[in-house]
């Protein structure tokens, strides 16, 4: 049941589950790529904040992807 999960976590987890068959690093990059292409920047920042706060509702692949998004945003990758 999803009603108490933040929207970015719910939607991000849905994306993560679609790429879970890939090797972890490849999956995280694919998840980050999808989110970067389709999500509004404020939603990406919200996701990064959830990951930074170690929100336990996030799929580990999504946490990895959020880190990559933050790195992309800061120009460190």
């Amino acid at each position: 049941m999803n009603e108490h999960v933040p929207a970015e976590a719910r939607m991000g987890n849905d994306i993560a589950r679609q790429f879970a068959h890939l090797p972890p690093a490849q999956a995280a990059e694919a998840i980050a790529g999808h989110i970067e292409r389709f999500w509004d920047p404020r939603m990406r920042r919200n996701l990064e904040a959830l990951a930074a706060a170690h929100d336990d509702s996030l799929d580990p692949l999504l946490v990895d992807a959020a880190g990559r998004l933050a790195a992309h945003a800061s120009g460190t990758s």
Partner: protein, 949 residues
Amino acid sequence: MSTVDQQSIWDPEVDFGTPAVRGAESVTVTIDGRAVDVPAGTSVLRAATEAGVAIPKLCATDSLKAFGSCRMCVVEVDGANGAPASCTTPCADGMVVSTQTERVRDLRRNVMELYLSDHPEDCDGCARGNCEIQSLAATVGSAEVRYGRPESRQQVAHPHPIDESNPYFAFDAASCIVCSRCVRACADTQGTFALTVEGRGFDSRISAGGTDFLSSECVSCGACVQACPTSALQEHSIVELGMPTRSVETTCAYCGVGCSFRAEVRGEGSDAQVVRMMPSKNGGANEGHSCVKGRFAYGYTSHRDRQLSPMVRDSIDDEWRRVSWDQAISRVAEGFTAIQSEHGRGAIGGISSSRCTNEEVYVVQKMVRAAFDNNNVDTCARVCHSPTGYGLSQTFGTSAGTQDFASVEEADVILLIGANPTDAHPVFASRMKRRLRAGARLIVADPRRIDLVRSPHVEAAHHLPLLPGSNVAFINAMAHTIVTEGLTDEEFLRERCENLDEYLAFVRDPGNSPEATAEATGIAPESLRAAARLYAEAPNGAIYYGLGVTEHSQGSTMVMGLANLAMLTGNIGRPGVGVNPLRGQNNVQGSCDMGSFPHEFPGYRHVGRDEVRGIYEELWGKKLDPEPGLRIPNMFDSALAGTFRGLYVQGEDIAQSDPNTQHVEAALRAMDLVVVQDLFLNETARFAHVFLPGTSFLEKDGTFINAERRFGRVRPVFPSRVGKDEWQVVCEIATAMGFPMSYDSPAQILDEIAATTPTFAGVSFDRLDTEGSMQWPINDAAPHGTPTMHVGEFVRGKGHLAPTWYVPTTERTSRKFPLLLTTGRILTQYNVGAQTRRTSNNVWHPEDVLEIHPADAELRGISTGDLVDLSSRVGSTTLRALVSERMPAGVVYTTFHHPVTGANVVTTENSDWATNCPEYKVTAVQVGVANARGDAAVAQAREPAETHA
């Protein structure tokens, strides 16, 4: 031809008597001394009409195969005996025909006398000009009737009461000549077989299966009324308003079939009234056919609920105040500007409508991108076919169906999945049924036993009642069967596709076999294998799908799975095959094409592409945001988070149509400024601060694009009843916000679209008016449009075979919610019902009902007609039960046409992973008999059936 020219006269389409023959070699015949070249097989009647020689006829019409019963069209042929009926006589090379000899004139006069002997002299239709008998009698010279003639309808041989049960037309047997045109139209054109001829000889009469029309199987498509040569079947509107004085060619505003109509009208200017809607024979999508909505359900355009003035209020608890357009537009512009000043430029956005024209939609996205200075624009396609956009773009390279509708006539096997065309796309369904009656095989994959599974003269070879939520497991099992049994098109895969090895390795995995997926799908493996073989081995296999594919948590994955299946079998790039989304609303395709998504400009080009953004920045003189904006559900979430505070909604009722109503309403309540532009004060308007009256399709000047990518002209029957066109209002809001936007006409807007979008480069009002509708791409490579896409090469080059991993939805049944709810549509209502509920279509569907399997009903003590509570983890509602075996045990079904039911109170926030299209088709629910309180509440809330205004 200009719009004005097309409106100036009533000029009914010529009836050539029999259908055109296509593709045959030409033959030359001589008719009354005139040489005529026609395709071999063309009837003499048609050849004569094409040559300008009128032959009297009664039982013949060019939408139906020749019947040869009335004997009015007799002619003489040199060298032939007797006087053959010209409708059933095919032209042969060198044939010499005479149509006006004394012999045939005598024959016609005698035949007409017999007809007149039982046709009342006081026939209203004859007097009005809507009955061909009187004029034909004059034509053939039947001045006297030797056998006498009934003076009134009461004196005919077998008088019957007039059947006025249908709300739109009446049947008066007294005026009927039993020519069978109605019976044949119902069978051959519509494919319903509701009408028959009862009795024999002089006692024969037309019957709707022994009952009245309303109680019969009749679907009220009106094909019989259109076919009737007398006034036996006649629209009430003809009686009430009289015959039309002019006609306007336009496009229907209901489903994505996009039928062409001639709006037949009396009066001019704002006094004009539509007398009837006649489907155009030349309409590429419908070829002269229509459904009950398109032909009859236009009364909402003048319904008393229609709002004609701008209105404002300070709070949603206040009463509305009428204001001038200037005041309303100032309020919108100042309100949005103030929100942006306080909360940032991303705090506002807009939603465009699939019921509006391309030109209206285009200016909305332009207003958002340039005046709002963000990309927070979305469209109602978000909640229906956004996965089609994603899935077909990933695999084929563009977001559109691959075929024209005519393609189905060359299909040998049709895989129909998650679609119910006889209800949602009825005119296309008639075309499909015609092909099925001619021998094509049908596979239906749907939890519900839809009408096409078994109906008169149509029976599916396979009905696979897959469980809701298991689509991807199902399509993988189909692909597994095709690959492992060696049924693929090796040459097609090798030459036209990429990622072959990865995909084949994926799909060969035993985990994708029909046996391994049977628990998820609920489909017997051997049935699935048989269906896969049937599709793969067909010379032409065609896929048609609807929202039962897209409205799932893996909607986009499933669309890719369908594309994979077509590529595996080489069923792409020619007539008779393809992957065909049946779009829900009239301009879903167009609204998506016109850049309504927050990440794409018109033509599906990402906002992050510098070269694309540059086109618009140069033309509009404004730097544009390279980041994607908020989708509709993201707008709601952001509103509740406080970062999104102002919304413009064009012609959509998100408070009724979008899932999890409580969540949507809370989001709307949280906003500082909600602006609704609509015909009616809809559910969303309950949360609005500004109401801007919109225009109906009868007032619009523009274009729609239907599900087969066809640009069709929408032409105004009368001027805007609210004083402005919708595109003007949007331009004025943008201008008031500091970004000047103005056009002289909607034609100029389409010119801008064409100039900036390569796919639409060749389209213009002028071309559509002179050459007729055409399908995109329309450009130098395809100047007359593209009926079939991906011929020889995919838009993206190679077709991409994408592994489609099955990931079950998180929405599961439980002890508390043990049933699965899936939602859909019904023939007579449309979407949220804003239009059709304001017509007499309510006669057929006055309320939403819950279909429930007898076993589930018995377990709960539920009988048909009982009020039941339907509850999910997010909400509950009350509606009446219909115990039915159409649903499998464990699955219940309802529609969402009535706000009093509010089916979306129970649907959840779950959505497609790629596009956020809601998972309407899978909601875990419980059903129980409603208590007395629920009964009273529903009784109080239920609207009275509203009638045609």
